[in-house]
Assembly symmetry: C2
Homo-oligomer: 338 residues x 2
């Protein structure tokens, strides 16, 4: 079924059908209705490929997600969901691309084949070849997280440095003098993953300024790793009474390790951090944490991207989210040594 067939059956030309549909020039009410009834009867829909070819745009957004080896974190999933929802509101489709770098076939197809009008790039690293590629292609894009040259790209990000710092300060204020940072995995740190680097900086900064002791531990994004990470903390640094965590996927393991060690939260051990609200509330007692506003970030990313598609040469906007730390029940005064 194509526009020619509709035109034939309506007894008009193809252009009239096209205009009746787009409204870009006036069509007499009588013919408009006749055309519409034929369309309804046959269930005609314009072919998206033909339209894309002619118009030079696809009305589709690319969403580049980390390929699934370790499961996506809730934060990432919330983000995907909110991008979907925001795109849907704007009548845009979302094409998924599981790609960690610019050589992944999927990335190549979507970007090289001009399958999308713009791209949202999740989990960018400080130096990210995909960003270079998109820039070279002249394809509008928004990154989640910033690269090392944030001023000339469009991004949304979470201010991990300041959040880690504030969590640390909160714990020091409560009297804790020996703190651990449960960071993301060593691989992520090694690959130049911004949040991990900035969480470290913020933690180290706060620890130094307040004159207390801080130990950083890298931890893979899963519960088992969280459990063994906390076990290691307790073994190697028994004096530690509080932890800052930016690793939400490790939280259930953190919980379990503390439970098993008989360290009641927050009486004997305090935990504060950054997490999707879901995980914070899943923690027991509920976690004092900065709730990453993944939904807002997804909506902002889509909004930015739509703007850049419309005006590619406008200065790229960005937004650094610094959500407040919700005081819940996982932090308390440092236990008095006995």
């Amino acid at each position: 079924m194509n526009i020619g067939e509709i035109a034939r059956r309506s007894g008009v030309s193809r252009s009239t059908v096209s205009y009746a549909l787009s409204g870009k020039r006036s069509v007499s009410e009588a013919t408009r209705q006749r055309i519409q009834s034929v369309i309804d009867e046959l269930g005609y829909r314009p072919n998206a490929a033909a339209r894309a070819l002619k118009e030079g745009r696809t009305r589709t957004l690319g969403l580049v997600v980390p390929p699934v080896r370790d499961r996506l974190t809730f934060m990432q999933l919330d983000f995907v969901a909110s991008v979907m929802a925001a795109a849907d509101r704007a009548d845009l489709d979302v094409l998924l691309s599981p790609a960690a770098d610019d050589h992944d076939r999927s990335f190549e197809r979507i970007v090289g084949g001009r399958r999308v009008d713009g791209v949202i790039l999740m989990e960018v690293r400080l130096k990210d070849p995909r960003v270079e590629r998109l820039r070279d292609m002249g394809l509008p894009f928004v990154t989640i997280g910033r690269t090392t040259r944030p001023q000339d790209t469009c991004w949304v990000d979470v201010d991990y440095a300041s959040l880690a710092e504030r969590c640390t300060n909160h714990l020091v204020d409560l009297g804790h003098r020996h703190l651990a940072l449960v960071n993301r995995s060593a691989e992520l740190v090694a690959s130049g993953y911004g949040p991990a680097h900035r969480a470290r900086e913020g933690f180290n900064e706060a620890v130094a300024r307040r004159g207390v002791e801080g130990f950083e531990f890298c931890c893979a994004d899963n519960a088992a790793a969280g459990e063994s990470c906390v076990q290691e903390i307790l073994r190697t640094h028994p004096e530690v009474t509080a932890a800052v965590t930016v690793n939400e996927a490790a939280l259930p393991g953190v919980q379990r390790a503390l439970d098993r060690a008989g360290l009641e939260i927050p009486a004997r051990f305090s935990v504060a951090g950054v997490a999707a609200r879901y995980w914070a509330e899943q923690f027991h007692p509920e976690l004092t944490a900065a709730d990453v506003p993944a939904a807002d970030m997804g909506a902002a990313a889509v909004e930015f991207l739509i703007g850049r598609i419309a005006e590619p040469d406008s200065p790229p906007p960005h937004h650094l989210f610094t959500p407040p730390i919700s005081l819940r029940n996982s932090t308390g005064p440092a236990p008095t040594p006995r």
Copy 2:
């Protein structure tokens, strides 16, 4: 950058470039190399829309996911991830459509606009208008879950009836005489959601056959609902000593309610069910459960769909997954009444 430009710079015709790329007719090694070097230099990629228009296929799969109000369950997420991975392996792109019924604009765009070669439909209901629509369109599709007329569609599903039955039998074998079923939400049941209906059937069947008492409780897909659901079970039926659950998202709440009621698992209360392995292992003690093989199901769905795209008139295959129940530590002998 288009094929004409490559042809011009290589000093050949467009068709030669096309054939050099596709290999569908022989091209002399010399010209092939010349063309290739021009392509490499300019970074040319065939335009996907033009190709789709000409070839009549998009090399894209549509994945229809439930729109995000309640968060997607892990099972669903695993499924999305595995579809992505399987599609990627087959060099197919995935277009996302958040749609609960056939009138959702996103569904309409993707299906009506022929944006995809085939569709994977998640969370189908027993009677699902999207299925009718796809059938009418003649677009190949695979459903996750079966409708009431499973023989003439292509699907993969989990055998909830038999799994619920087997969990129930296991608990009865252990001496439990008063059991509860923690089912999915009342809305899902009302809307004709297959797994919820079939879990109920399997549970009722087993309970009747074994001559024990069974109570069904509907429960929304989140932890809070799980907690209040268990509280209600304990309040209204204090004689219940075991629960069968098909609601993985409720598990953390189930756990919390039992903990708070002081009912040790499995000494005082047993739980068995169906869940993504992740949740089963997250439970404490680990949950005796049938682990839904979401990854296998996603891969199978993609495989089926590719087959149907290739041969739309072949008899539609389907596969009912009946994963074994992994005996873990959440089930034990019924407590002796005191």
